[in-house]
Symmetry: C2
Subunit: 220 residues, 2 copies
DNA sequence: AAGAATTATGTCAGTCCCTGACAATTGACT
DNA sequence: AGTCAATTGTCAGGGACTGACATAATTCTT
């Protein structure tokens, strides 16, 4: 095994037997892990248990995932990749903020399929709360998001024909946008688990508050 | 030892010999740790080495810090506490965004003293790059920042007489603001280590880009 | 279709982070 | 001085991870 594709980039499938098997193992590991996490909590689940549930050795687990956090966040990372792809396919004429906004909404629409290819939707939904309530996972998730944001900033800069090193606006915009998205998903998670449709709605509502929140006077 | 005060809340000093000794031990651990991290890198430094450098047992180290990350971020947490305090002492009449803006600037001004009470300023400065280049530390730092942001949001809500659970603006504003601050300190760190004055300058510059970055049209 | 070359997996040993339990020491208080 | 409480050290152990090497499974070659 020279390189296992991150959850992020899943190539079109060169699909020999070998590749199919690896994918199956990987998906099984994710499913086993999420089920155990959901049942016993993240910290009280050991990697040995996950490996055993997926019928591989602990060593193999670590060949698929760099650490315990990575398996917990695997699906999230796949959705992140979707988001980045969505932004790349927004029309070039669109202004930066609208492009980001529409890209997230596109993502929520397309996420279902990506998720259900690996785990039951409901199991994935439960991981949002798990992440939020597990310090180590939240930390890993935030770091992962900061990488996504870097990618978004570069893409925005490219769209606008700017040098992201010279003009701070791409990074500033994406940082503000990313902050609002985090707050949105957190609020959504706290509202006791609505579906992807509710998330979509909240996203719109929160993004619409960005302008007003920056305004000088909040008493309107 | 019933409770060690987090770096955050450092009480006025009831100062018996016992308290003074604890403080000295804590500061020594921080200094030893940062020196080792700076010299050998975070991951290649073991807790045993830190403990030995500070002349305490490994077990004692873990009574002062919940984990290795915490000692690396101890000073940052102290500065965070300064920030929160700075916001609380902004005049009530000030609008939310200006209050946050002035609070950071006040913080950068007052930080020097807090830092130098524990470690040489230059040693602290080097930790910014360390955090940025150490995945585990960056993750922990981002998580820590998200807690700070929650505190800021609650304070903004209080100032404005709002229920933060009902009105999303406090959280949205703080998330956007926090995002920009992260980008700012990162850019500052990458510009090969200027001083606190440069950081202050960059803060102003980046915050001033927030409005323009959200604008529809970037071509002005 | 059989063997050679790759690649994936398992086993083992070891390091490091972190924790609970208990004993020993040290400062506080009368 | 003597008691009480808080701090520290020692020890044993669990769990995340890694490097090294052997084994087994695919793929490639002829």
């Amino acid at each position: 095994m020279q390189s296992i594709e991150g959850a992020a980039a899943r190539p079109a499938a060169p699909s020999g037997l070998r590749e199919r098997k690896k994918r199956r193992t990987r998906d099984t590991l994710i499913r086993s892990a999420l089920e155990l996490f959901s049942r016993k909590g993240y910290e009280r689940t050991t990697v040995d248990e996950i490996a055993e549930a997926a019928e591989v050795s602990q060593r193999t687990f670590f060949r698929y995932f760099a650490n315990k956090e990575e398996v917990a966040l695997a699906i999230q990372s796949a959705v992140d990749a979707l988001f980045l792809a969505a932004l790349r396919s927004r029309p070039a004429a669109e202004a930066p903020l609208p492009a980001l906004r529409e890209a997230v909404l596109d993502t929520w629409d397309g996420a279902r399929a990506v998720i259900e290819a690996v785990v039951p939707l409901e199991l994935h939904m439960r991981t949002y709360g798990l992440i939020e309530s597990t310090p180590q996972l939240l930390a890993a998730r935030l770091r992962s998001l900061s990488e996504v944001e870097e990618g978004l900033a570069l893409e925005i800069a490219r769209r606008e024909g700017l040098d992201p090193h010279a003009d701070p606006r791409p990074h500033v915009l994406v940082a503000a946008f990313g902050g609002v998205m985090r707050v949105t998903t957190r609020a959504w998670g706290e509202r006791g688990e609505g579906g992807l449709d509710d998330l979509r709605e909240l996203t719109v509502a929160y993004l619409d508050q960005l302008g007003p929140a920056l305004a000088e006077n909040w008493r309107t």
